[in-house]
């Protein structure tokens, strides 16, 4: 197999074109290099993912084994003082469960997946793939990371406040969220307020990031990199950038208004005549609209789903052609689909709100758009599937994850259809079915895409492969456990399990044993699934250790790459030295062709990178 790499393998990272040594802080901490910022984003996001996973493990204990104290192996993380405040004789209380639930969702979505997909992969790969020396605004890029970091710290540190952290779900609906932590005198030190402050910072970070990405993609494409020669990865990032740019601000508006409700006692989202058991008649003017918050939240919330998803699509769509040795099937239709997807994602938000009684006409509109949006998603996923057809597939570690991504995301997507329909949603709303559905999209779907991405670009970042053995130990248990956790949720949900039962339906059960409740005996029949699911979750946590080991040990001890293009891929990031230095390319590349020129019949080798001049073709150009 011939290599078209531009530099010999193991080329010194500190190549000649930058002479100055930026010093430790500039290089590792306050770096303006998009690759370092990408790595920072990646590591930070993975830490947050691990933390979010941990919160979920505690919640799963409470669901599977209500009334039983948290076991030592899970509770050692907390100090005794914290446990005395938030656990009752070691048991997870409803309030603590709510806190963990709200923070699990927030952390996973805003601090984990988005920064990992957009911040880490986007930052590292996008400028390389379009042949740019860096992002258009390197310092803005650095600011974006640090604002994100600060926002994350503010949100998570609220666990140590007297009020505890936010506890009104990751959606933070008012008036529930408006009343939570109302007893705290200094509202700036209430968990709910800190959540809002953290969120405003995270939105600022995304704004800086998305402006930077879009500008970079529009203006910094290298010579010859026309729009239709851009890898699908870059297209995905472009659309993601637009989603972040335009969908987040309304949530920022909602966040600011909720902040006003908290600290200035306004009533944006507080209706007239609110009465609570503890407070009595609320000392508020009232006259606000709780529904308004839901509208503003889901105006972000739904495009956010695609902000999570598109980077995973992006990773998988790069990995599939490189490992099937044939072009991505239907590249153009995928590009148009992703654009349509981006547009449609702005007009589907209220399908999260069928239960609010918006009216049949509104529901019908959103039902229609929601069903419409499944078309471009299915086009993309089908194109990926067909791309496998007739390929000589190399089951490299990234390819295993990419192959698992397709069916897992498929389940996640298809289980969403019943939720799109108003009538079916009335039954399934707020049950474990919804949890199962979107976790299939996010956990075995998107996360698998990201694992694939890590394994795929790791050789470029470090010059070494990740271990295949450790990957097997990570991949197979993860695949099995993911389904053990999430498939029973779909079943439980259809049986009527509510998503916010902190004791897993136990309270219902004690009532239903003798008398008939609205679910008949279905709770009894399905409650033991809780234990299987929780066991699955903890087992999966254990097997993630192999990934962490793999990630860090391969950096030093992994098998070295043979050349700068170890996967024999065609896109521009493989034209850089390994790892790429500051400024990325030794010689500014020129793009001569589309991104997925694999197995061209007129070409000797089975791949033709974008940067190889046409004269290197052995066969004459037929066109």
């Amino acid at each position: 197999m011939s290599s078209h790499a531009t530099s010999p393998a193991g080329h010194d990272a500190h190549h000649e074109d930058h002479h100055h040594d930026p010093g430790f802080l500039r290089k590792w901490v306050f770096s303006t290099d998009h690759k370092m910022i990408g790595i920072q984003y990646g590591i930070t996001a993975m830490c947050f993912l691990a933390f979010g996973f941990y919160l979920m493990m505690v919640m799963r204990w409470s669901i599977a084994f209500p009334h039983q104290p948290l076991p030592e192996w899970m509770s050692w993380v907390f100090t005794d003082g914290w446990k005395a405040r938030w656990l009752q004789d070691g048991k997870v209380t409803g309030e603590t469960y709510n806190m963990f639930g709200a923070m699990h969702g927030t952390i996973m979505v805003f601090l984990g997946i988005v920064p990992l997909g957009f911040g880490a992969f986007g930052n590292y790969v996008t400028p390389l793939q379009i042949g740019a020396v860096d992002m258009a605004f390197p310092r803005l890029n650095m600011a974006s990371y640090w604002v994100y970091f600060l926002g994350g710290i503010i949100m998570c540190s609220s666990f140590f406040l007297e009020s505890g952290s936010a506890k009104s779900g990751w959606t933070n609906y008012s008036p529930l969220a408006g009343f939570a932590d109302g007893q705290i005198v200094n509202q700036w030190l209430a968990g709910q307020t800190q959540w809002l402050l953290g969120l405003v910072l995270l939105i600022t970070s995304s704004l800086l990031g998305s402006v930077n990405f879009i500008t970079t993609i529009i203006n910094l494409r290298v010579r010859g990199m026309t729009w239709m020669r851009m890898p699908f990865f870059v297209w995905s990032m472009l659309v993601t950038g637009f989603l972040l740019l335009l969908a987040f601000p309304p949530l920022e508006a909602a966040g600011i208004m909720q902040l006003m409700d908290r600290v200035a006692h306004s009533s944006f989202f507080m209706p007239s005549g609110l009465f609570t058991k503890t407070e009595g008649l609320a000392n508020l003017s009232g006259g606000g609209s709780p529904l308004l918050f839901q509208h503003l939240f889901w105006f972000l919330g739904h495009p956010e789903v695609y902000v999570l998803l598109l980077p995973a699509f992006a990773c998988v769509s790069e990995i599939i052609p490189a490992n099937t040795r044939k072009p991505l099937w239907g590249y153009k239709s995928m590009v148009y689909s992703v654009l349509v997807l981006g547009f449609l994602s702005f007009v589907v938000w209220a399908h999260h709100m069928y239960m609010t009684g918006m009216g049949a006409a509104v529901s019908t509109f959103f039902q229609t758009t929601t069903v419409l949006i499944s078309v471009p998603s299915v086009v993309i996923i089908t194109a990926m599937l067909i791309s496998l057809w007739g390929g000589s597939i190399r089951f490299t570690p990234p390819m295993m994850w990419a192959c698992a991504f397709i069916p897992m995301f498929g389940i996640g997507g298809l289980t969403g259809l019943p939720l799109a329909f108003n009538l079916a949603d009335l039954h399934l709303h707020d049950t474990y079915y919804v949890i199962g559905h979107f976790h299939y999209v996010v956990a075995p779907g998107i996360l698998f895409g990201f694992f694939a991405g890590v394994l795929h670009w790791y050789p470029k970042i470090t010059g070494r492969y990740m271990s295949k053995t450790l990957n097997h130990l990570h991949f197979w248990p993860s695949l099995i456990c993911m389904n053990l956790i999430f498939f029973p949720m779909l079943v439980q949900g259809m049986a009527g399990f509510h998503r916010r039962w902190y004791n897993g339906g136990d309270a219902y059960l004690s009532k239903a044993q003798d008398s008939v409740n609205i679910f008949g005996n279905t709770v009894v029949q399905h409650i033991d699934m809780n234990i299987i699911m929780s066991m699955g979750a903890w087992t999966m946590a254990f097997f993630q250790i192999f990934f962490i080991i793999n990630l860090f040990t391969s950096w030093k001890f992994g098998k070295k790459v043979e050349n700068d293009n170890p996967w024999d891929a065609t896109t521009l990031e493989w034209a850089t030295p390994t790892p790429p230095g500051h400024g990325n390319f030794l010689v500014e590349p020129v793009t001569y062709r589309g991104p997925y020129e694999y197995s061209r019949p007129d070409c000797d080798s089975d791949f033709l990178p974008q940067w190889i001049e046409p004269k290197h073709l052995e066969a004459p150009d037929k066109h």
């Binding site: 005794d80 601000p249 006003m260 007239s272 003017s285 308004l292």
Partner: protein
């Protein structure tokens, strides 16, 4: 490494990097303000209270509109001067721009300040009065509070005999405030009884604070420390005990699920109790002799004999009369009451005649009667101007606001009708900015009035708390103001520190000014929407 297209535009896109970036940023900003404007529409359409229409003074807003439009023009001139490489002219035009921003913010500040000192009160029957709080003078001297300030705040008074603090949640500034008030009233706050606690496992209780010890933050902290240590110690013991119980229960019922045996699994307190330390979650203090303490209404949940502060401090003592005393009332508004009456199918006029305010305030009654006369005159005028339909009904009739609101201008007109003070034109112009001039118009125009606490439905200054209209008004204009400040700072930076860049790379500076100017236009554009929506509609 050099990033391309920082100064010169890229050929195929025709744009330099930061120009793309600013347009993207502005798109994002459009969505942000779009969110707020949508919220405005949503709130106004769904309002279950009379939305304050045309309630803000138009003149300052109008001046601000022209100030901003003018500055948008000068910022373009400043950019053009840079393109023509005329530094002097750039300085002049940019100077005017920044000065306009300053005028805008000063006017905004005046507008805010007037509102933040203006009290509104909604009675339980939904009639509303507006004005200024303050206590009557005694012997020509204003009544002072313990800090020597004139009492303007509306406070709730409790004849306090006992204070019980939550040892975890007590709010330090409030404790300090209580101490100052006690000192001012020559009263002492002392520990009611000995606080004794088991602080080490297996030992007897020891006294950690003696009865009669005066209240101090240090004392509360000491008790808190003991409490937290005990809580955390007990948590460990109890958790271990419960774990053991579960282990035993599971061993005894191997084929049963957790939920089937949970009811029978409890900690054996007889075994555990000797190992526990004392938790002191509350601590009581006596106020000796009992004294009047006053509290901000938002901090206290008042009750006849036992009130509670928001930090969980329990206040034992009799709730005293805590009326809201208006030094000047400058508006009486029955719109909300009329709205509620119409919802119930009651004639609004009858509801108003029966309102607490009309029955208890002779001035209100008199003003209402005068206002009825004005409304009759208005109706006659409308009938004369626009005629009647074939049923004999007037085509135009007074608005809800004209029917049911007696504003400060009505009071002023009434006073002039009755032959009292008329202001000079200059003073009347000033009123357009600062609101009614109480001193010149006199106490008879804007009399004082006292409302007992039990009649108070909801009260607030004209802040975001008063109603969602003021909430959205303050939020949108506040955010817009922040944009003005931010933009002005950037433009001022080019003005005062741009010289060096002008000499080395004038095109780059021109680009930057162009970017800043685009942002400035956006800020102006937002105001063009804000002004009609919040001031005129």
């Amino acid at each position: 490494m050099e990033i391309p297209y920082v100064v010169t535009p890229r050929k195929d896109t025709g744009l330099f990097n930061s120009k793309i970036a600013i347009w993207l940023f502005l798109a994002s900003e459009v969505m942000l303000f779009g969110g707020f404007f949508s919220a405005y529409v949503f709130l106004r359409l769904g309002a279950d209270f009379p939305w304050p229409e045309r309630t803000l003074p138009v003149l300052p807003g109008l001046i601000n509109t022209f100030v901003l439009i003018g500055s948008s023009v000068t910022v373009v001139f400043a950019w053009a001067s840079l393109k023509l490489r005329d530094w002097r002219k750039f300085q002049i035009f940019m100077g005017i721009t920044v000065f306009c921003a300053l005028i805008f913010m000063v006017l905004k500040g005046v507008e805010y300040n007037v509102k933040l000192h203006h009290q509104a009160l909604r009675l339980k029957d939904y009639s509303v009065i507006e004005g200024h709080l303050g206590y009557e003078t005694e012997d020509d001297k204003p009544v002072l509070d313990h800090k020597g300030n004139k009492i303007e705040e509306n406070l709730i008074n409790v004849e306090t005999s006992k204070l019980t603090f939550n040892t975890v949640r007590f709010h330090k500034p409030w404790v300090e405030e209580l101490l100052t008030q006690a000192e001012h009233r020559h009263s002492k706050i002392v520990l009611t009884a000995d606080v004794s606690a088991i602080t080490r496992e297996g030992q007897a209780a020891e006294v950690i604070a003696k009865a009669g010890e005066p209240l101090s933050i240090e004392l509360l902290n000491r008790i808190q420390k003991t409490h937290l240590a005990a809580r955390s110690h007990n948590g460990v013991i109890r958790t271990a005990a419960l774990r053991d119980e579960w282990k035993k229960a599971k061993a005894a019922n191997p084929d049963k699920r957790g939920w089937q045996i949970a009811d029978g699994v409890n900690i054996d307190m007889a075994v555990v109790t000797p190992q526990l330390l004392s938790e002191i979650s509350t601590v009581a203090f006596t106020v000796d002799p009992s004294a009047h303490f006053d509290f901000h209404p938002r901090d206290i949940k008042p009750a006849a004999t036992q009130s509670r502060l928001r930090d969980d401090t329990v206040i034992d003592g009799k709730l005293l009369d805590s009326p809201m005393v208006f030094h000047h009332v400058d508006a009486i508004d029955f719109q909300h009451l009329a709205m509620k009456a119409e919802e119930k199918g009651i004639d609004p006029e009858v509801a108003i005649e029966n309102s607490w305010l009309i029955k208890n305030s002779p001035f209100a009654k008199q003003a209402w009667e005068w206002h009825q006369g004005e409304v009759a005159k208005l109706k006659a005028q409308l009938l004369k101007d626009y005629g009647a339909d074939k049923d004999g009904k007037a085509i135009r009739f007074p608005t809800h606001k004209e029917l049911y609101r007696i504003g400060w201008k009505d009071f002023a007109e009434k006073a002039e009708d009755e032959g009292r003070a008329k202001l000079a034109p200059a003073d009347a112009f000033k009123e357009e900015f600062f609101g009614p001039n109480y001193e010149a118009r006199g106490d008879e125009t804007f009399p004082g009035f006292s409302v007992p606490r039990e009649q108070v439905g909801f009260e607030s200054k004209f802040t975001p708390a008063w109603n969602p209209y003021y909430a959205i008004y303050f939020t949108i204009t506040g955010l817009h103001g922040l944009h003005v400040i931010g933009g002005a700072l950037v433009l001022a930076y080019y003005l005062f520190f741009g010289r060096k860049m002008y000499l080395s790379n004038p095109e780059w500076l021109a680009n930057r000014v162009e970017i800043g100017g685009l942002f400035w236009h956006f800020v102006d554009l937002v105001w063009i929407f804000v002004f009609p929506i919040l001031y005129l509609m």
